[in-house]
Amino acid sequence: MIVSVAVVGQQNNPLYLQSFTEAGDELKLHHIVHCSLDVIDERVNNPKKNWPTLNETFLGLLYPSENYKVYGYLTNTKVKFILVTNEIDVKDADMRNFFRRFHTAYVDAVSNPFHVPGKKITSRSFAVRVSAIVKSFESGSNA
């Protein structure tokens, strides 16, 4: 089950954070997202042979903690999408699919002339679309 999604900007400023669990551990999710930013920075600055090449958008599993798995996706404008899930086995293709749709929704939200780049995303339709993508992802993986 997807616990939360986050969008982080170029200066590691949070642009969007939405959690999908009823429990109120928002702070813990913030913390997890923050820690995963370090992992992304490491991968971006030190590309090694066994890690994805420089122009790869999907970063894959960033790090598994005791309950959660964190996946990352880097756009070409250095905006990062972070996904926290507590599912045990998740297919790579599903993740890529999810991030691709999330990227499309993000691009549409950013094309709003009233959105200020670098500020938080306040678009309600973006929130609705993200919830829809998360729901369809979960129903797809549970089917």
């Binding site: 094309s111 709003n112 002339p113 009233f114 309600r124 339709s125």
Partner: protein, 151 residues
């Protein structure tokens, strides 16, 4: 030469030069944003958009008549239909529907189902009184004023 028959909106739209819809939406969005930054008052921006539309309309009407060859409209109902079906189709690529006629036939509503001007746009709470597409009402006003010979 025999007079040309009026061409439908689709036929004209097929032969006319077109522009990328995203570029169009983003350009219009940039105009509105710049007006908001310069004028700051939502009412002022509405007025300015209407004025801009008026200036476009007085020039656009000649092109419209030249390309589409529509004949004189008998009454206001026909005028509204021509604007909705031929005019919008020719310039925006979408047709509008005409509804909400009042008892006298003096006023109606043109409803645009998918409006290319407002792709991706979400009005923030600070701009709730903004008529984002006011340029369209200005265009219609300008175009019709040029046609009005005697009333």
């Amino acid at each position: 030469m025999a007079p040309l028959p009026p061409r439908s909106g689709d036929a004209v739209f097929a032969n006319i030069e077109r522009v990328n819809a995203e570029l169009f939406s983003l350009t219009y969005g940039a105009i509105v944003r710049q007006l908001l930054t310069d004028l700051e008052e939502v009412d002022e921006v509405n007025k300015q958009l209407d004025q801009m539309g008026y200036n476009i309309g007085v020039r656009l009407i000649d092109e419209f008549l030249a390309k589409s060859n529509v004949s004189r409209c008998a009454d206001f109902k026909e005028t509204a239909d021509v604007i909705a079906k031929v005019g919008f189709k020719m310039f925006l690529g979408v047709t509008a529907s005409v509804t909400n006629w009042d008892a006298d036939g003096m006023s109606c509503s043109l409803i645009l189902e998918d409006n290319p001007l407002v792709d991706f746009v979400e009005l923030p709470d600070t701009c709730q009184g903004l008529y984002y597409c006011n340029i369209l009402s200005g265009v219609i006003r300008g175009a019709l004023e040029m046609l009005c010979t005697s009333y």
